[in-house]
Amino acid sequence: MISLLMRDITLAMRAGGGFGLGLAFFLLVAVLVPLGVGPDPITLAKIAPGILWVGALLACLLSLDRLFALDAEDGSLDLLATAPVPLEAVVVIKSLAHWLVTGLPLTVIAPALGLLLNLPTSGYPWLVAAFGLGTPALSVIGAFGAALTVGLKRGGLLLSLLVLPLYVPTLIFGAEVIRRGALGLDATTPLLFLAGITLGSTALLPIASAAAIRVNLR
């Protein structure tokens, strides 16, 4: 299974792998919003948690529809399905690879973008904690959406419509953690909810995703 992880990461790193895509998009969102909303630090500070999270959601969504579609096109998905490897494990590994390539880098550069949005200093540790615990859920839930739409023609748009409502709990709790952190309050409760959602979806969703892939391979 490690070989699948390594392969997916090398694929993402190689030319055309789309490694920097999510990061660039996230940076764009963090730059465009102040241009749209105006430079006033107070308003920016207030909306910073929400903007960072919505930016992270969309950045993840960007690279998700290729998650299974690439393998389906060149036949790897069929061969993986007949390999001695459970499809659920394949889904978990691909979600992990997607997180390492997209979610983790977002968590690393999020503080820098927090500066752009004038996030209060007390918010930064909570920002990193929220992103670290929340972005894996984005990859796992996104993988479920990608599995549902793997065989479809215009799957990309449909994927967003299916996945964004599923992102709502992560978005709300994630933004809440940063908002409370920014105000200097203690944000462990929403953080625990966030972690709970991530762990729950990582444990259960791959089963649904694998079932969806099997249906699509039929």
Binding site: I2, S3, L4, R7, T10, L11, R14, A15, G16, G17, D71, E73, D74, G75, S76, D78, L79, L80, A81, T82, A83, P84, V85, L217, R218
Partner: protein, 212 residues
Amino acid sequence: MRYTRRMTLTVTNLGCTRGGLCVLDGVSFVVKPGQILVLQGPNGIGKTTLLRTIAGLQPPQSGQIAAPADSIAYAAHADGIKPTLTVGENLTFWAAIFGTQNISPALAAIQLTALRSRPATSLSAGQKRRLGLARLLVTGRPIWLMDEPTVSLDTASTALFIAMIASHLGQGGSALIASHIHLGLAAATYLNLTPYANHIAPQPSPFDGVTA
């Protein structure tokens, strides 16, 4: 490498569907170790569907497929090769998935050792096909299901393919090949699927008897 256990594939009275439509019905055959069975029939008769059903990618509509667990290796039209990875990386990946360590014998068998570190994008269609066949070698599984293996292979590669198959059979392996052209394999038995094609009988639909 010798295939330790004797692996026989037995298919009895198999019916399979494509897009909800029953294309083949009542197909029965046995592939013993050391045997090749070539499925023949015009395009669209359901050769690929039959192979996919036996490989387990889709449920059969009727009939049974009996084969020891983990004994079937499936090679489809598409070879599952990542263009941005090199030949060696592609094969090492598939070897790791199937638990094989060393890929050099497989590379040697299809004479791609020289291209080991070349990215797969620069391979010709024939070389890609040979890499797909090499993948079968690294699976270590005795029963090969192959869908049109000789497509886009030139004469030299086809000869290579035949030699590879022969050595596979020599070690107790077997092969079920779907091909609309005659492969010229000496030890092969041929099965024409036309009699099993199912376009005459009307499809039994769950919605029969529903009227306006």
